[in-house]
């Protein structure tokens, strides 16, 4: 479904990605792990169309996304849960969710999707009328995921979903991600908590200094030397 080929990205003169290849199929959960500064966030932003690729291609079911303007990428089934959640703090929980359904195709079915999101995160239903800025970190993360799901994506991108959250909440978040994966959605997650990511995902990529160093099933990754040394610290 998602095919990333030879993607390069730059910030001015500084090159952040040096030809990344990556695939995500429907119904699988894939992780990108790697040390700080490896280019994980840049990779997510480039796929989401929020950062222009300097070279290479990002295809979603065969459609080239690097040529599509940033605000149109969601029309091709890509939704993002950004790093640091970035919910709209001055808007209510429900308004945040409905904003997620802004694109036309999602707008038509927003009531159904909203119900699905509330079933996935019952706490959001209780908090509907509250301002998003007043939620706890965990609730904001659930809201950021719910908002992305409201766009009815085929591919969900998540950047550091566990950052700053209590372990119990992280469990809840990853359970929810597993549930949406079972519905056939592709999930690509960038995660600092490598243990957690390797447990939750079927496949993974190790990104170091803007290059994919190792890729494979998470069991295989766990036993490679690079992963053990560079990110697990064993």
């Amino acid at each position: 479904m998602l095919e990333v080929r030879g993607v390069q990205a730059r910030y001015g003169d500084a090159q952040a990605l040096w030809g990344v290849d990556l695939d995500v199929a429907a119904g699988e959960m894939v992780c990108i792990v790697g040390p700080n500064g490896a280019g994980k966030t840049t990779l997510v932003k480039t796929i989401a169309g929020l950062h222009a690729a300097a070279a290479g291609s990002v295809r979603m079911d065969g459609v080239e996304l690097t040529a599509v303007p940033g605000h149109k990428v969601c029309d091709y089934g890509v939704a993002t849960v950004p790093e640091g959640r970035r919910v709209f703090g001055h808007m209510t929980v429900r308004d945040n969710l409905l904003l997620g359904a802004y694109r036309r195709a999602a707008r038509r079915v927003y009531r159904e999707t909203e119900e699905e999101v509330y079933r996935l995160f019952p706490r959001l239903r209780e908090r509907q009328g509250q301002l998003a800025g007043s939620l706890s970190g965990g609730e904001q993360q659930m809201l950021a995921i719910g908002r992305a799901l409201m766009a009815r994506p085929r591919l969900l991108l998540l950047d550091e979903p566990s950052l700053g959250l209590a372990p119990v909440i992280v469990d809840e978040v990853f359970d929810a991600l597993a549930a949406v994966t079972r519905t056939g959605m592709g999930v690509l997650v960038v995660e600092q908590d490598v243990q957690r990511a390797l447990e939750a995902c079927g496949r993974g990529y190790l990104l170091i200094e803007g290059r994919i160093v190792t890729a494979g099933t998470t069991e295989a990754l766990r036993s490679t030397d690079e992963v053990r040394q560079r990110v697990l610290g064993m």
Partner: protein, 289 residues
Amino acid sequence: MNTVQVVLSGAMLGGLYALMAAGVSVTWGVLRVINLAHFGLILLGAYLTYQLVTIWRVNPLVTLVVTVPALFVLGALLQWAYDRLNIVEFNSLLVSFGLLIVMIQVAQNIWTADHRELPRDINPFDTGSLSLGPIVLPYDRLVCLGLAVLLLGGGHLALQRTFVGRGMRAFAEDRTVAASFGIDHRRLSVLLGGAAGASAGIAGMAFMLGNLIQPSHAYEWFGIVFAVVILGGLGNLLGTLFAGISVGALSGLVGVLWSHAYVPIAVFAAIIVALVLRPQGVFVRRRAV
């Protein structure tokens, strides 16, 4: 009774301030453009109303059919240009002030610096009033308040309840995330700029109902309109409506208790106090922490 009367008259006049402030508030709050040229659009709306009423000899409300679409287009064009030229919050002040000077000069060339007013025999709101016992409510001010309630109340509902309105609020908070959900900032800016322009047309017409117009009036509106915008909270139309009414009522009260000369002092003192107590805007729902 006199006090009640002036407070009510002032509050109704406050509707006019709110009408003038609405466009400034949304473009500043959502698009981050402090558009001083908005006062030029109001001026233009007022003169167009004058011109059309004089030529057609119709009820001034009828002229909205022409002025609202015309100023929508102008407001949209203006916003499109700001967007193209990458005008941001700070330099928007300079650029739009320059534009305002040009607009005032143009108005002066066309309509001269003399006062203009709606022909009294056609303006049905000029002298009449509604009497409630001892209280007299002049028609022109009633219309101002009514239009303000309709326009700002309607605008508020549109921002709160519609997908596009939600998109605008989201855009005001975080443009990048908003874009990732399909919000096209170009289209949205032009639409909002147009809506602000249209509101200037309505404000200009409302102003003409009970006032004389001359080009330099655009400068005189600055103080009170910015006061209303700040008090109401940027981008908060319901707040702007209440702020306009409050400022109007306060001006009326101060004018009769002390002197009209003290009105600006009282209004701005009230704003300083209000901002010290509630820096997020007086009528803004407090963000729970």
